[in-house]
Symmetry: C2
Subunit: 408 residues, 2 copies
Amino acid sequence: MKPMGPIPPEYAGQRGMLTIAGRTAPDWLAQRDGPVFVYDPAIVAARVARFRAAFPAIDLHYAIKANPFPPLLAAMAELVDGFDVASAGELAKVERLGRPVSFAGPGKRDAELSAALTAGVTINLESEGEATRALAIAERLGVRPRLAVRVNPDVELRGSGMKMGGRPSPFGIDAVRVPALVRHLVAAGADWRGFHIYAGSQALDPQAIIDTQAATIALAARLAEEAGQAPPLVNLGGGFGVPYFAGDTALDIERVGAALETAVAARPAILRDSRFAIELGRWLVAEAGVYLARVVDRKESGGETFLILDGGLNHQLAASGNFGTVVRRNYPLALAHAMGGEATETVSVVGPLCTPLDRLGDRIALPRGDVGDVVAIFLAGAYGATASPCAFLGHAPAAELLPRDHSD
Amino acid sequence: MKPMGPIPPEYAGQRGMLTIAGRTAPDWLAQRDGPVFVYDPAIVAARVARFRAAFPAIDLHYAIKANPFPPLLAAMAELVDGFDVASAGELAKVERLGRPVSFAGPGKRDAELSAALTAGVTINLESEGEATRALAIAERLGVRPRLAVRVNPDVELRGSGMKMGGRPSPFGIDAVRVPALVRHLVAAGADWRGFHIYAGSQALDPQAIIDTQAATIALAARLAEEAGQAPPLVNLGGGFGVPYFAGDTALDIERVGAALETAVAARPAILRDSRFAIELGRWLVAEAGVYLARVVDRKESGGETFLILDGGLNHQLAASGNFGTVVRRNYPLALAHAMGGEATETVSVVGPLCTPLDRLGDRIALPRGDVGDVVAIFLAGAYGATASPCAFLGHAPAAELLPRDHSD
């Protein structure tokens, strides 16, 4: 038997049939032919409220790459101070939602820069070459470009799932070259918006985030001093993780918030009028989403029992362990009809794809499951539907569902 | 510096500008806005011809999961003896192409079984439960079901990239239970089509395949004897690999073919009237496909040089090392304008996605590459476009292109 990650607290206390946003799992599935992702906006709103309480003086941006489902973005527009996008395609999804937008990501094509400049969004520049192209395109369009500089920091986020600082990187401009670029942007007449500094993601150690945020503020101040320019905004990045696997514990964001309040209160003089933002994706939405699929077959082989679902890595690649993890570990999952039920057998839960990669639960302890039962895979709200190869093996995509208000 | 896999022989000898199916790489890219996959049907046809010469008495099936691009399937219909599909969605793509079809894969839904039975395709049964459902649905439809039994063999394919036999498995029915199931199917009036035995994939060691095929024939004979039924067809599976990485060498299929001819000539009496088939996906199409993308940015960071492309793991996940490989290694890639050119620098080639996972070439030696240059990633004909998360981060999908005939 192998362990699973912890079921999120919003669902872990349920007994009997799983309900999501007030409706049962089979009720959600009855709306569509095949597996579904259900996102509970109340959980997202609660996450935002918790952030607001912990970080009263910090702006909150949503990085839509985590989940760009349009109804979720519409709900999020009421809750956050800005959207961060990573392509012109993402920009198109938020530009009519009335919130400030910033655009980060390496390899922005000229057409993407043009769309962003036309829309008046802030471009987080990833290289000097991109700066040159953005200035030229703005000139051609006759607009004053809103440009921030993404910094490749000389610090990394310890213990983060993905390190994005402290090493050679496609992301951002090495800190040592940033002051000269800022001076160049200001001299060229750009509306310089400040810094974007992102040191890693999926961190669960609060002290690591606290240290990184303190180092990031110090770095921003040093770069601003060297550039002779006070940044209107310092985007501190995010990096708040969620517990996916056995042994993971939820991040203590209140501790991070208290430390950041202290650090901001003691910030160097050049940052006196700067705003600070934290950009979050996964932490806001991962636990709000549940992937639901049905058991199509139950079979025995070599003394093991397999439950075979009607959806798998084609819908939720990350849960199969094939997206950014070296060692495959089990996401939390449950039989929807037996929440809180006693485990009576060890089974492997697999998807319908004709490949051994399509394994969603490897030798996990569950109550009895049979053909027709619903399996819920938690933590499906971030990097799920859009981060999966939905056309693989010719199965239909999963539907995504979000209740319009809390009463439906 | 890290090594790359070998450029396929069909392209490795080129000098100067890369041509694919008679047209230059920039010419292919000029047809679309953004990256493209180009598939050369002449390379596929040459692969089939090589198979035919090496395996004159063996049927050849194409497993369309490797690449289900409709124009490729239309070309393939002229070349192979049958198609293998893994979902009703794949079935819909081939059912009007006039070739025999078989359908394998765990978790076939009732609607999929119904579609397959209506179309008269052979269903490779993966469990006793599936057999029961298929018989019931056939009865309801008033058709005589064409049913084969997929066997979970008690042998595995040594050295295969993915083992699919010799262990508890979601695929097939454990050999020990197969004779009883065959007797049951025949007694129920089904048109029993034989066995499907697939022990692994992506094997490059000819002796391992030879041993597996010999064991598979022996197993089929033993199961047929125990069932008291001669199988009309024995699908030996495939497992022929292609060289992706440094140190890989191409499979000697002529050696495999000679050994199989001997094994088939000496087959047990109960298989005297059986046909034998080999089912191939990757080996037929991987090297026929090239993924082409443009350099959008060239940047330096921490002493390393990065070339940033306008497409990455959103189009070609496998080349990023995030699909079924534990250790990330470099696929072969080249600057299209400098085929055969001397490497003058070490660069990392990355996609445009705002994630460190999007790395296509890690510290590889290349000739000089600049913004606007075309990068070719080879071995993109199998498990490329459809096995990648094309919606991730909101970029457009890559176009797929196949010349209609060899003159265009």
